[in-house]
């Protein structure tokens, strides 16, 4: 993947915004893979690839219910890196390689979120006396510090994802036959679909909503067959 510097910078800025949106500011869901991927595709002039990778990671996102302090992978910047990878490799190879880079970046993003929360805990613990004094300046400084650290974290995750995207094509693309590329894409898409279905069923539970899920599934299958 060799991209002009202005496109790389645009992807880095977008990945950072997406990473910050997940938890810190403003949680308007640009961190959703479907949105992150579509805009990353638009930056690269390749919206269809952005949407396709966005759909794969959106399905994986259903596996996560961000309640309490639960730990989870971060699929926003991961989708940006995935789209950058896929843009460099056409068709199924791009889908498989993009998903692989995105998964590794998502794992890294999740680890850094946990790390950041631990760092924030230490800083807030150290500032306890100032916070207990009710000094509004100290309060805002501690809070803004957390926001800035999250922005730095998101930028780093996106940058690492873009480096992986740059390395993926020469390191893996050449070693894979067409059949191999298809296998990789099948693995990524199949697990995304399975994670989407399993995650949704966890939300739906065994109550009356299960009948609504079954009705939707049936309707979706009929529509799919009819549209073929």
């Amino acid at each position: 993947m060799i991209l002009p510097i202005e496109l790389l910078l645009a992807l880095l800025v977008w990945g950072t915004l997406v990473g910050v949106d997940l938890v810190s500011l403003p949680q308007m869901m640009i961190a959703r893979p479907l949105v992150a991927g579509t805009v990353a595709g638009a930056i690269l002039g390749d919206i269809p690839t952005g949407i396709k990778l966005g759909v794969v990671f959106e399905l994986l996102q259903y596996d996560i219910l961000p309640v309490g302090a639960v730990r989870y992978p971060e699929y926003g910047p991961a989708t940006v890196a995935a789209v950058a990878t896929a843009h460099a490799s056409a068709g199924v190879l791009g889908l498989g390689l993009g998903a692989l880079v995105g998964l590794v970046t998502g794992l890294l993003g999740g680890v850094t979120i946990n790390l950041l929360r631990r760092v924030n805990s230490r800083i807030i613990h150290a500032a306890a006396a100032r916070l207990e004094s009710g000094d509004p300046g100290a309060l805002v400084r501690v809070h803004v510090g957390g926001l800035l650290r999250d922005a730095l974290r998101a930028a780093l995750v996106t940058a690492v994802g873009l480096v992986l995207a740059w390395l993926a094509r020469p390191l893996l693309g050449g070693a894979l036959s067409v059949r191999g590329a298809v296998l990789l894409a099948v693995a990524a898409v199949a697990t995304a679909l399975a994670a989407g279905a399993a995650g949704t069923l966890r939300l739906v539970g065994r109550g009356p909503n299960l009948a609504w899920f079954a009705a939707g599934l049936g309707g979706g299958i009929v529509a799919t067959v009819w549209l073929r």
Binding site: L107, L183, L193, A197
Partner: protein, 245 residues
């Protein structure tokens, strides 16, 4: 009145960043304190700093509904409630605001609209489906944040009245089935959309691997998640691909 509206607007803006310093010690506490601070400025000097300090104590709830606690605690400070009563109010709100927000937003509004967007994309709506998702989602998002802050400020220590708002109850009852139906419908459409470029043998492989993965996730959901399974299967696929040249 204008001063109150200005303070509420500033508090609302700060609420968008309420999780900015998320941590395992006070969770959202510091962010809640920052959001509440504009509403406390017209307290007297002797009350202002203790109220700001209280606002930054431990707090955890759904981020979109935190405004309810911010507004209620600030109003209680203005009404001269005792400090321990305000602490108890905050503690009492954590659980209900968390579970209500999770049910309404994370398990309702968000996956419902995401499912519709996925179906829209699969049916060929492309980026327009994504744009509509973002727009409609945020109408609900911003509306909920604003309602929560206003309701908290209006009711103060009697904020539990707001939690029994019939619109919230109705939304909770409607969004669960709507989410289940929308995502259920989106799954087969999305599967067809993603498998479009594959040959017939790859589609069969896709169906088999997806079914086995689903079973694995259902049976071992305590140890396995989508990311681990995806990475594991991608590694297996890479090895097979290199061997099967």
């Amino acid at each position: 009145m204008a001063a109150v509206n200005g303070a509420l607007a500033r508090a609302l803006l700060r609420l968008f960043a309420v999780q900015g310093s998320y941590n395992y010690e006070r969770m959202l506490g510091v962010g809640v304190g920052v959001a509440e601070e504009p509403l406390l400025r017209d307290l007297g000097d002797s009350k202002y700093r203790p109220a700001v300090a209280r606002g930054a104590h431990f707090f955890n709830a759904h981020p979109y509904l935190v405004g309810l606690a911010v507004g209620a605690a600030a109003r209680a400070e203005h009404d001269g409630a005792a400090p321990d009563q305000i602490e108890r109010l905050r503690e009492a709100l954590c659980g209900p605001l968390g579970s209500l927000g999770d049910r309404l937003v994370w398990a309702g509004w968000l996956p419902f609209l995401s499912g519709l967007a996925l179906a829209g994309v699969a049916l060929g709506a492309g980026w327009i489906a994504v744009g509509v998702f973002l727009l409609v989602y945020n109408i609900g998002h911003v509306g909920l944040r604003w309602w929560a802050l206003k309701a908290g400020w209006t009711h103060g220590t009697r904020v539990s009245v707001a939690l029994h708002n019939p619109v919230l109850q109705k939304a909770g009852a409607v969004l669960g089935p709507a989410m289940a139906f929308a995502v259920g419908a989106a799954l087969p459409l999305t599967a067809a959309y993603l498998s479009g470029p594959f040959d017939s043998w790859a589609r069969v492989a896709l169906a088999v691997v997806a079914a086995l993965s689903f079973v694995a996730l259902r049976l071992r959901g305590d140890r396995l998640n989508g990311l681990r399974l995806s990475l594991g299967l991608a590694a297996v696929a890479l090895v097979v691909a290199v061997l099967w040249q």
